[in-house]
């Protein structure tokens, strides 16, 4: 098998394992076995276990960052408030639902204090936060939203989404709701909550 393919294969398998058991809970031997190859091969492609872990996070973080950028653009192009928030919510929910490994990797590495996850939170996630804050601030100026704290309001909305992902990630969920339903209801609740009361 050509080197590039094998490398990618190792990354895929290892991502799965690291996301299940964290960095120190995963053994290189196990990765090798799962790939169906001897342990030495791992170390031909990656300098160390640490380097492999970084490569995985880097890969996942890049991939996710791209997707999120896309979604942000799409959301920004929406003209009405409902479409804006609902698109954002739906896309993020779907993204994590389709790839649960990402959230687990981010949580593990966040807890373990790995740099790449910090970078992710401080760059990509920050863009999401900022977009939300700007949007809310703008609508307050417009007089459409009440005079709330845009930072807290943004966090409230983000919280609904992230927490749902959190629940999906950590426990077997006790409610069966589609991303669409959740996005609809979260958005409606939020918009009703922040709009001027005399507004339709």
């Amino acid at each position: 098998m050509p080197a590039a393919d094998r490398r990618q294969q190792i990354v895929d398998v290892a991502a799965e394992l690291f996301s299940q058991k964290g960095f120190s809970g995963t053994m290189t031997k196990e990765i090798a076995d799962r790939v169906g190859v001897s342990e030495a091969i791992i170390f031909r492609h990656f300098e160390s276990k640490e380097a492999l872990y970084s490569a995985i996070l880097d890969y996942k973080v890049r991939q996710t960052a791209e997707q999120i950028q896309e979604h942000l653009k799409q959301a920004e192009s929406r003209k009405d408030d409902f479409a804006f928030f609902r698109t954002l919510a739906f896309d993020l929910l779907e993204m994590y639902r389709n790839d649960p490994t990402l959230m687990r990797l981010l949580m593990f590495s966040g807890l373990e204090g790995h740099k790449l996850s910090e970078i992710f939170f401080e760059s990509t996630m920050n863009e999401v936060r900022m977009l939300l804050r700007r949007y809310v601030a703008q609508r307050i100026e417009d007089g459409t939203f009440r005079k709330i704290d845009p930072i807290i309001a943004s966090r409230a909305f983000g919280g609904m989404i992230v927490h749902q992902v959190f629940v999906w990630t950590l426990y077997k969920d006790d409610m069966e709701r589609s991303s669409a339903e959740l996005a609809d209801q979260f958005t409606e609740l939020f918009l009703t909550g922040v709009r001027m009361t005399n507004h339709k």
Copy 2:
């Protein structure tokens, strides 16, 4: 030092370490050093590292469960909606803020699939969820709240709170807001969002 005291001391120190680095990231030697005692002492008090970990989770989970019960009771005794939700939000925010180790332990053990954290999520946290759902359902029946899905609405409110805790736990926060401010705004946003629009 009497056995009971030493035991408690070990639990305290180990809780701190496990919450910082997870189960497999923490070494028994390190715990012993931090306690200022030889490693063998750890194993006189606990059968294994695993047993120590379970003891810690058990201790923390019980302690937290009690606190939460209290808070739920207090919240339930509140007559008006604002007081109910705001009390719940504030108490939970403060609880985790005062003891960040708990959230980290729960997250680590949740990710690692430890039983006790499952139990916690399925018993104590479930009570919180159920209380919220019942309350919301009741208010919908009363005609005070709009005909929303009580389960989703509860999750939305819970999400605001838990996510805030999540942010405090994982990243240096970029916003400085007190639990009181957050509780106020979350509650107001939520209540405005779910109430009948023609209601004051």
